[in-house]
Amino acid sequence: MAPHLRKTLVVVGHGMVGHRFVQAAIERGLTETHDVVVVGEEVRPAYDRVALTSFFEVGAEALSLLPEGEYDDPRVRLLLGTAVTGFDPETRTLLLGDGEVLDYDELVLATGAAPFVPPVTGHDLTGSFVYRTIEDLEAIREAAATARVGAVVGGGLLGLEAAKALADLGLETHVVEMAPRLMAVQVDDAGGACLRRHVEGLGLTIHTGAMTTEVLGDSHVTGLDMRLSGLETGASAPSSTTVDCDLVVFSAGIRPRDALARTAGLTVAERGGVLVDEQCRTSDPHVWAIGECAAPDGRMYGLVAPGYAMAEVAVDALLGGDGAFTGADMSTKLKLMGVDVASFGDAFATTDGALELVYSDAVAGIYKKLVVSEDGTRLLGGILVGDASAYGVLRPMVASGLPLPANPEELILPVTSGVSTSSTTGFPDEAQVCSCNDVTKADIVAAAADGGTTRAGTTCGSCKTLTKKIIEDYYEAQGKVVDRSLCEHFALTRQELFEVVAIHEHTSYDAVLTAHGRGGRGCDICKPAVASILASQLNHHVLDGANQTVQDTNDAYLANIQRNGTYSVVPRIPGGEVTPEGLIVIGEVARDFGLYTKITGGQRIDLFGARMEELPAIWRRLVDAGFESGHAYGKSLRTVKSCVGSTWCRYGVQDSVQLAIDLELRYRGLRSPHKLKGGVSGCARECAEARSKDFGVIATEKGWNLYVGGNGGATPVHARLLAGDLDTETLVRYLDRYLMYYVRTADRLQRTAPWVDSLDGGLDRVRAVVVDDVLGLGTELEAAMSRHVDGYFDEWKATLDDPDKLRRFVSFVNAPDVPDPHITFREERGQSVPGDATGPVSLGSTIPVGAP
């Protein structure tokens, strides 16, 4: 193609939709014929505005959709921080804020929408904000640092997001909503009431049926006047009231940014937005509009998914395709302040003859509504508040018109009635399971059959449950059973065993085996698993009575077995803090017993090469010097690593050493499904690498951020934020709950990262249980941890005090003074390391043998 035939395509707006358009243009080859110029008003490239609130946690970089700052296609030019002041469809020219004039062949408007600020008096005072860009959030954060009370005008989806952000920033927070309920667009009155209870439970004050009449203040916001409709107070007439506040965030809806199109004389829709046809073409054939600034068929869509669909359609049209945008699925599922909210299909039962099925549990804070067709055969829509786990099954039923089961109420009844797991075998193959990536049931089954994968569940994740169920049902239909029993001796999972032991108050492995086993005497799988469960619940000495024979060798000898049959010894050094005297004792013990010495990854000192019979003598010295067992041998808490924190560090904002010591001492000895590690960093520099731990704490200016589920073992995983800016008491409470929840429900040898993933809802589920206490288990989990803390004693000290337990620490039962000849050492870098093993060794018959 001759060079002069290349055309210029200008995209105005680099938000999520503008970015998606450019991506699609590159992927589908539009840049083969077009040079693309993207003009963005904001200084940063497109970022994930849907996840805007997480900016405070993860920072701007993590939200960026174009972290490199440019496209890797040289035919795309990105102009940021550049305003467009107008364009002329006659001359096909575009005027930039800096005076530059761009010629275009095709123009795509992706200018998005702007927050609507009601024109009340005082709306422009210092201290009033909107909630739309990263800059808005930065300004809000700065203002919040000196503010005490904040008010959000608007109780919709974004308003509640903003309110959460204010609350997280430490402000007393009010929400002022004109409608009689929260999230009026998505949920009905009963759902709104349920949602309101959740939000109020977080300490926010909600005013519904309240219209903001004035923002008070001279130069700076000091309060907010509102008029109450009276519905809420029960008053017969409207009344007025004032909230004293230092800042106001307006989140009362959005308006399409269609000014450029209006000025250029293009047709706009009655209620705003550039009117476009099904291919997203405006009234000018060379101008296109996509996303929130566009109004296909006169309707504006305030969600990103329809915007993405429009971007794809516009690229297709520019390539000569005939794709069309004919409306969008407005279903939404979100996690708002830890509360599941989902709304899909005909949520308000507007279809003729539609019937509603409602399940409501005010105590648990759950509201579910299904809208079904008059004849009860099809699902039309629904609302879920408090528990949206069924969304993944229900939304595709609406989209694909699947027939409802005979008892549709079972779809929303609590899971104990057996339901949300109804079989998927009746689903037609063409049922679309993942709408984000257009994956059908047939695709998933095909992938399951040949061991492949699909992209189902990889975008919004709402179809994960259904995808998993389809795969399970597939295997079941093949006659394959996913066996989750612990081993040949128990048909139960570890979690079930944990519950069985708790309910029946078993205190020994034998009792568990007798009552719940299925024959045989146990093995190296079930014995340590039950030993761990008993230890978690009983706080007894692991070597007490018959339970000593069910311990793995590490627990059985309270030390870590090493490759040549010797053991390593690790005294506890809480938080890594140790006195010079302590160091000297450890050094002397290591020297006197000829032990190899190494600093561990967990800020402790490991003494290697101890013969089993030497362990009591070594520990005698350590215990006398004030050391206690570090539980380096147990599936239990190992260490809580720390940096030096505010005591010594120039940057530290909190005392990480003290917290690490406190946490390590609190959870020491806690037997768990796998070993546990923690970390505490005194500032965001993260020198303790807390986010690579099962639980990690990072100091902020205002408290502690708690991360969980790091450390995936062979598959490294970073911990993710569970809750932010906590005071120490709340932090410990959440940690108590998190660890106990893990101890109770994880599989045998399952680390925290895969455990979190294995829960239905993943991290959200952990947050629901730990932070929001949706199961009402919080108090019980804390009490269980409290019993553990109160019952703690040093295992090695107790062992040294008990001749019966010491009896086994001998080389040969009939020759306790003869060392095991299989253990040999050689020297490496000045220390002892295991010698090579060469098979069974005979000491010969001349060695004297003692009598029993």
Binding site: R521, C523, K527, P528, T549, M612, F812, N814, P840
Partner: protein
Amino acid sequence: MTTDQTTDQTTDQQATTDVTVCRLDDITPESAVLALVGGDAVAVFRTHDDGVYALSGYDPVGGACVLARGIVGTRGGVPYVASPLHKQGYDLRTGRCLDDPEVSVATYDVSVRDGVVLVAPGARSS
């Protein structure tokens, strides 16, 4: 000589040179002790039904003398010990490795007389 209990394999001839290991009560059921028998390190096991078995204490896979420290139970009805190093199971009756047919450990004749555990020096097989 009275016999409280003997394993099938014990013969009178061997008994005359048997090495005293310990009292049966010194071995907790479903565990083992390591004994020095004619210069060999021998793991002596007691099962839940007071069956007594003796194997070489050396784990040929892990290369260390640790079998007496393994967990004792049953696998598919077979009384076995799991090596504490890498969990290979060994049939207490035959010394056969349950996870690898190429591997086995030596067995020893063992008997219990007057509550005392005796092991005959010299492996029966290897």
